[in-house]
């Protein structure tokens, strides 16, 4: 090997050693990207804490129990708000294409702080309180969540397609924006349909 070849070999070796020596300082200065995906999860489980047994044919003044959960995988602590809303078949659901929440008023609200990788699950119960039926329509005037009554006044027409008076109880996930200092819709929602039977 010529002297120039040895010089290149020496320089490459020295540079490698310098890179290794500067690694501890570089790690503290440069933000290394995380390889994992950052996201949040929400879910509803049935009364047995499984994804089964969700109430479907419901009657007034009967209590139904469910589980609701949120998990934070955003790589930092997060402050979540969960807005519970109630709608019929024709009222607007959240718009997943445009990341817009449902414009319907919220019935109930949960808020929780979660560390990265932490999940929060809570049991909750709901009961349809006052229902009025008239010919081809039903009106749910109030429902209770965790034994607290809320006025909803939601009218549903008889659905000949699905044969029933359908309502949906759904949960929108909102995330606290530190820059704006307010909650914004986090583009996630879950819900379940119920058929009001009497």
């Amino acid at each position: 090997m010529s002297l120039k070849g040895y010089l290149n070999f020496f320089l490459a070796g020295s540079l490698l050693l310098i890179l290794i020596a500067s690694y501890p300082a570089l790690v503290m200065l440069l933000p290394f990207p995380r390889s994992m995906e950052l996201f949040s999860e929400i879910w509803i489980l049935g009364p047995t804490r499984m994804s089964e047994g969700y109430p479907f044919n419901v009657s007034a003044n009967k209590q139904y129990g469910l589980f609701f959960g949120v998990r934070n995988d955003l790589g930092r602590s997060a402050y979540y708000a969960v807005y519970v809303k109630f709608r019929n078949l024709t009222q607007p659901a959240p718009d997943s294409l445009n990341s817009k929440p449902s414009p319907l008023p919220l019935v109930y609200e949960f808020r929780v702080f979660l560390a990265d990788g932490q999940k929060w699950e809570m049991a909750f119960n709901f009961m349809i309180r006052n229902v009025f039926f008239r010919e081809d329509s039903s009106l749910v005037s109030s429902l209770s969540i965790d034994d607290v009554d809320f006025q909803v006044d939601c009218l549903s027409k008889w659905s000949s397609e699905y044969s029933g008076f359908y309502y949906q109880l759904f949960f929108e996930l909102w995330l606290y924006d530190n820059a704006l200092r307010e909650f914004h819709y986090h583009d996630r929602f879950v819900g379940f349909w119920v058929n009001m039977t009497g």
Binding site: S14, A21, Y23, A25, Y79, R111, F113, A115, N178
Partner: protein, 169 residues
């Protein structure tokens, strides 16, 4: 006598009306005060969370603070509920307790953030000093090593004898 009775009734009605009016005004004032207390509680919790995030970003362990924030939030939920059902006294008490927790969390988070930042600066100084001195040692070692190698290389090359040289037997 006939004038006295209507006058008495009129005065009684006036007194009762003024009592109700004052009572309603006090109730409205109480409602406003409690609504403001709840709103303040929300602001304090939001601000505390902001500081907790800063502490977390600086490298502090904030899991205990998040538990406290959840307790404060629970109290605010109860305060909102009490407010809704007209129990303003309880709502005010709960909102105040929530605010107290929020203030403590914010102060602890600020302390943790400062501590974590200080610790980060110390570690950074050690890392920089370690890296710089290592780089210096490597660079000078390489330079000295190269000079030594180069000298040996020349000595070896100069000591070589070409094939078929005249002093060969």
């Amino acid at each position: 006598m006939s004038i006295l009775r209507p006058s008495l009734v009129f005065i009684t009605v006036l007194v009762l009306a003024s009592w109700f009016s004052v009572g309603a005004r006090f109730a409205a004032a109480g409602e406003d005060t409690v609504a403001l207390a709840i709103s303040n509680g929300e602001d304090i919790i939001n601000s505390a969370f902001q500081t907790v995030l800063e502490a977390e970003q600086a490298g502090a362990n904030v899991s205990r603070l998040l538990i406290s924030l959840n307790s404060a939030e629970q109290l605010l939920v109860q305060a909102r509920f009490s407010f809704r059902i007209g129990d303003f006294e309880n709502a005010s008490r709960l909102a105040e307790r929530s605010k107290e927790i929020g203030v403590v969390v914010e102060s602890e988070a600020a302390g943790l953030r400062d501590l974590a930042e200080k610790s980060w600066h110390e570690r950074f100084f050690v890392a920089i000093a370690g890296s710089m001195s290592s780089i210096g040692i490597i660079a000078s070692g390489s330079f000295i090593g190269w000079r030594f190698f180069k000298r040996r290389y020349y000595r070896r090359v100069l000591g070589m004898k070409p094939e078929g040289s005249p002093d060969e037997p």
